[in-house]
């Protein structure tokens, strides 16, 4: 009897106290209004809080990032109707908003068409406009309560599957009158952005309870969350199975659901409350983690070396490391001489010993990258790229000799030619003369200062030193981030070489964004001014592909071309290191691209530790 009492009281204590989990944010969300958040005020800190509020028709699965139905009941059917391409999407009929209304085709059609209207007529921008691209999206139509048809001008993985069909869906019942009212005002978008939506119905598992400005945001689990108890199973053979025993929903895709399971997840929510505490500096948040005040820190830059070292020693804390979907790179201005000479770019690439820099100088805090598709994006990454990069796997002396040979091959000369013996520079090169006879005085390498990113700053200084040794007069100019942006995009293209970084999506259409010659205009993303008709042709095909495997093949080819032409030298990226209190919470998995914060800390799956 007494044992039972103790057991019951422990249970009571657990259910009352252990159900609140605390997470740390390093900045306050700017807004929790969907129009504003997916519009002008997009910050990652807002998405950590509201990222799971709204449903989408399709979503990426956990861990493997398979493209799976979320509010949709099955994958879309694609057919051509006259000039247009129609994607027919069946919807789930077991989904309910937090105000009790059922989710229907009306919500989907209203959201898509309204956003389109706001983009076209009122200039709604930001992520709304990139998700629902008016050049591709035409309109959405309701077929019946649980079927919608979405029309596009042409099929496109990026704009349809990974674009419109993954846009958040808002509640028509709640928003329709508000939007109509807003349209009557002088500044409709501002009215919408400013609208206090704290009573907005949502689909996701957690609902906002309290936002104490400057201090914390509190969310409470919805007991009536439609997907509670549903199971997601990823099979090793690629198959995906979703089933919800409560509503009877069942879906299988990408093959037969047999064989070994890679992952099995049962959706919660398992905790009562989540409190996002706001700390204004990293040290504060990490000290709070060590003290047990919070059990996970959202930190988009990841933990620094010193922080990870210390957390690894703290009891109860677990440090995890994941690859990221991005890269840091240097970009040549191919509109200028001699950066337009392929061998010149290759020579610099040959000099840069990424392995040495990453493993030794940066102390293992970074890993080398070679391709414009990051290694972590395993499906799209071409593993042949590193070998295509000049100097790969060579000793330092060989790298120097290769760089000199490449320059000589292109017709470069020196006033004093560099001399290499073994690994050492016996005589530094001086007075580089370009093939056209012009003396190259100085080449400016714009890189962020140590305050913004010590790694890039360090790397720039090493590149400067290595280049100078063989007589390439590169001068690393460590400057403010905004200054680089201004020189590159505003002035425009007033630079020789700059060094920055990109953070990317899963579908690598950024290759076309960065290197297609039609994107080389003022303020656009082809800052290198790369112009290769062969590349353009392949890139167009890549963008138009509606079949994933065909797209993959084309993507590999694009990467190979870029590895040889080198408008960018992709340098490295940092793994994202995170830490959580394993004695307070349990995550369903730890290995996922870009870390647990990329999936908002999986609030519907996280459990409290016993």
């Amino acid at each position: 009897m007494r044992k039972l009492f103790v057991f019951v009281s422990i249970l009571v204590v657990l259910s009352v106290f252990a159900q609140t989990i605390n997470w740390a944010l390093l900045q306050e969300p700017k807004t929790l209004n969907p129009w504003n958040h997916y519009g002008p005020s997009a910050t990652v800190w807002s998405s950590y809080v509201l990222g799971t509020w709204y449903g989408e028709l399709y979503a990426y699965s956990d861990v493997r990032f398979d493209w799976i139905p979320s509010l949709a009941a099955d994958l879309p059917k694609i057919e051509q109707e006259g000039d247009l391409w129609a994607y027919t999407v069946p919807l789930r009929n077991d989904v309910f908003w937090s105000d009790g209304t059922q989710f229907t085709a009306d919500d989907v059609v209203w959201t898509m068409n309204t956003v389109m209207k706001l983009i076209k007529e009122y200039g709604l921008g930001g992520n709304w406009a990139s998700m629902i691209d008016p050049d591709y999206f035409v309109r959405a139509e309701k077929i019946d309560d649980f079927t919608v048809k979405v029309y596009f001008t042409q099929p496109s993985l990026a704009k349809a599957n990974f674009g419109v069909l993954m846009a958040p869906i808002l509640s028509k019942k709640y928003w329709e009158p508000k939007v109509e009212e807003a349209l009557k005002t002088g500044a409709p978008l501002q009215t919408l952005y400013n609208y206090d939506n704290s009573d907005e119905p949502i689909i996701g598992p957690f609902k906002l309870v309290k936002w104490e400005k400057g201090a914390f945001v509190q969310q409470k689990a919805r007991p009536d969350y439609f997907d509670k108890g549903s199971t997601l199973i990823l099979y090793k053979n690629g198959a995906v199975e979703i089933s919800n025993p409560n509503t009877g929903f069942h879906w299988v895709g990408y093959g037969e659901p047999t064989g070994e399971k890679m992952l099995e997840l049962v959706t919660g929510p398992y905790v009562e409350d989540i409190i996002y505490r706001i700390y204004l500096n990293r040290a504060a948040a990490i000290t709070a983690l060590i003290n047990g005040d919070v059990s996970f820190v959202f930190n988009s830059l990841g933990l620094q070396k010193g922080e990870a070292d210390q957390l690894a020693k703290a009891s109860g804390v677990k440090v995890i490391s994941n690859t990221t979907n991005g890269f840091r790179y240097m970009c040549f201005n191919m509109r200028r001489y001699p950066m337009n000479i392929k061998e010149f770019r290759q020579a610099i690439a040959a000099l840069i010993d990424r392995e040495f820099l990453c493993s030794r100088v940066l102390g293992g805090q970074a890993f080398p990258q070679y391709s414009v598709v990051p290694v972590g994006n395993a499906f799209w990454y071409n593993p042949k790229v590193p070998e295509l990069t000049p100097g790969y796997g060579m000793s330092y002396g060989e790298r120097r000799k290769l760089a000199i040979d490449l320059l000589k091959k292109a017709g470069f000369k020196w006033v004093v030619e560099p001399k290499i013996e073994g690994n050492n520079v016996v005589r530094q090169g001086r007075g580089l003369i370009a093939p056209n006879g012009q003396r190259i005085e100085q080449i400016e390498l714009l890189a962020p200062g140590t305050g913004y990113d010590p790694m890039r700053a360090t790397m720039a200084l090493y590149i400067e030193r290595w280049a100078n040794e063989i007589g390439i007069p590169i001068k690393a100019n460590l400057v403010d981030f905004n200054y680089i942006v201004q020189r590159v995009w505003d002035e425009p293209f007033n630079f020789d070489i700059y060094m920055l970084g990109w953070s990317l999506g899963y579908y690598p259409d950024h290759m076309a964004d960065f290197f297609h010659s039609k994107r080389a205009g003022v303020g656009d993303f082809n800052a290198a001014g790369y112009n290769n008709p062969e590349f353009d042709k392949l890139a167009d095909e890549f963008l138009a592909a509606s079949d994933i495997n065909k797209a993959k093949e084309l993507g590999f080819k694009l990467q190979e071309i870029l590895a040889e032409d080198l408008p960018y030298i992709v340098l490295f990226d940092t793994p994202i290191v995170e830490a959580y209190r394993a004695d307070q919470i349990i995550f369903p998995y730890e290995q996922t691209l870009s870390g647990l914060q990329y999936v908002y800390g999986v609030p519907a799956l996280v459990k409290t530790a016993e």
């Binding site: 060590i290 070396k305 010193g306 210390q310 040495f356 102390g363 330092y396 360090t458 030193r465 400057v479």
Partner: protein, 326 residues
């Protein structure tokens, strides 16, 4: 020829007078132990910084002979990129090879501190000198001319004083790359048009009413002559005093800007601390475990800044008779 004979004694007399006042000043100064301490520390840092070029040479012959990677890290040693590949994990604690250890990027902390020392001096003294020159000239002319010139510069000072100086420098850091010299220049100019003009003008006003100014005027001396020969020499002691305090301010501001990552200075004491902070060693238990990353640089800032301050206060008691002991 005769002029020479007349000129030399005058010059000698002046020198003698100057030496005498210096000597009495020194007698007074000697009693101020804190000021003496400050002067000592400043001299120490000056020598410490000037010795920097010897440091890599000495270290190379004693402890840095081994360079197995052939990356020529130590030849010639550059404290900004001077990575030591022979040590497996950085930051490494103090050792013979690196007397104050290495930072997370594998650089020798002592080398960084020594290398920064002359730069801190240059920064502080340049900024302070500019401030004092501007402040003295404006203060003297505003007091002498009065009227429009006075009003203009006093209102200008009001506006400059309205700006929170750190906040303003943060904005300016977006305009240009705040290299060491530019930073010194900007800090000097900003402070020069600010509150110092008020103080020096007040002092110059007391000089202006003295009889020798009128005497000089009656002999037909030009305005510029009076300002430079009579007024400025009499407010110079006060200017010099403010220079000491401004050195402190300049060094401190640079450290804060570097700490916030807003200055483009490749190496300074502030940068060393910023490196420790940004790589995550400046929190929790690491504060004690990795003391060499922040303590030496922090101590240097405090020591040098407080020394100039002590020196300034010592001089103040000599220059400002109100504060003299009876």
């Amino acid at each position: 020829m005769t002029e020479m004979v007349v000129a030399e004694p005058l010059w000698k007399i002046r020198l003698k007078l100057w030496i005498r006042s210096l000597r009495t000043g020194w007698e007074l100064f000697k009693e101020k132990k804190l000021a003496l301490f400050g002067l000592g520390v400043i001299i120490f840092f000056a020598i410490f910084g000037l010795l920097y070029p010897l440091y890599p040479v000495v270290m190379k012959n004693l402890f840095w002979k081994h360079d197995s990677f052939g990356y020529q890290t130590f030849m010639p040693y550059d404290p900004i990129v001077g990575f030591d590949p022979d040590i497996m994990s950085h930051p490494s604690p103090p050792s013979l090879r690196h007397p104050l250890g290495t930072d997370p990027l594998g650089r020798d902390i002592l080398a960084m501190i020594m290398y920064s020392t002359p730069r801190e001096f240059v920064l502080g003294i340049t900024a302070a000198l500019i401030t004092v020159i501007i402040g003295t000239i404006i203060g003297a002319s505003a007091a002498y001319y009065g009227g429009v010139i006075d009003t203009f510069f006093m209102r200008l000072a009001d506006i400059v004083m309205l700006f929170p100086s750190l906040a303003l420098l943060m904005v300016l850091s977006a305009f240009m790359e705040l290299t060491l010299f530019r930073l010194a220049l900007i800090m000097g100019i900003l402070a020069g048009f600010g509150s110092i003009t008020l103080v020096l003008k007040a002092q110059a006003l007391t000089v202006k009413v003295r009889p020798f100014i009128d005497a000089a005027k009656s002999t037909g001396a030009s305005d510029a002559y009076i300002i430079f020969k009579h007024i400025i020499p009499n407010i110079l002691p006060l200017s010099f005093l403010y220079m000491m305090f401004n050195v402190t301010g300049a060094i401190f501001t640079e450290a804060v800007l570097s700490f916030l990552g807003l200055a483009n200075i490749r190496m300074s004491w502030g940068v060393i601390i910023q490196m420790a902070e940004s790589s995550g060693y400046l929190m929790g238990a690491s504060i004690g475990m990795y003391w060499w990353l922040w303590l030496p640089a922090g101590v240097c800032i405090t020591l040098l800044c407080s020394s100039f301050y002590f020196l300034g206060r010592g001089l103040e008691e000599i220059v400002n008779p109100r504060l003299r002991k009876r």
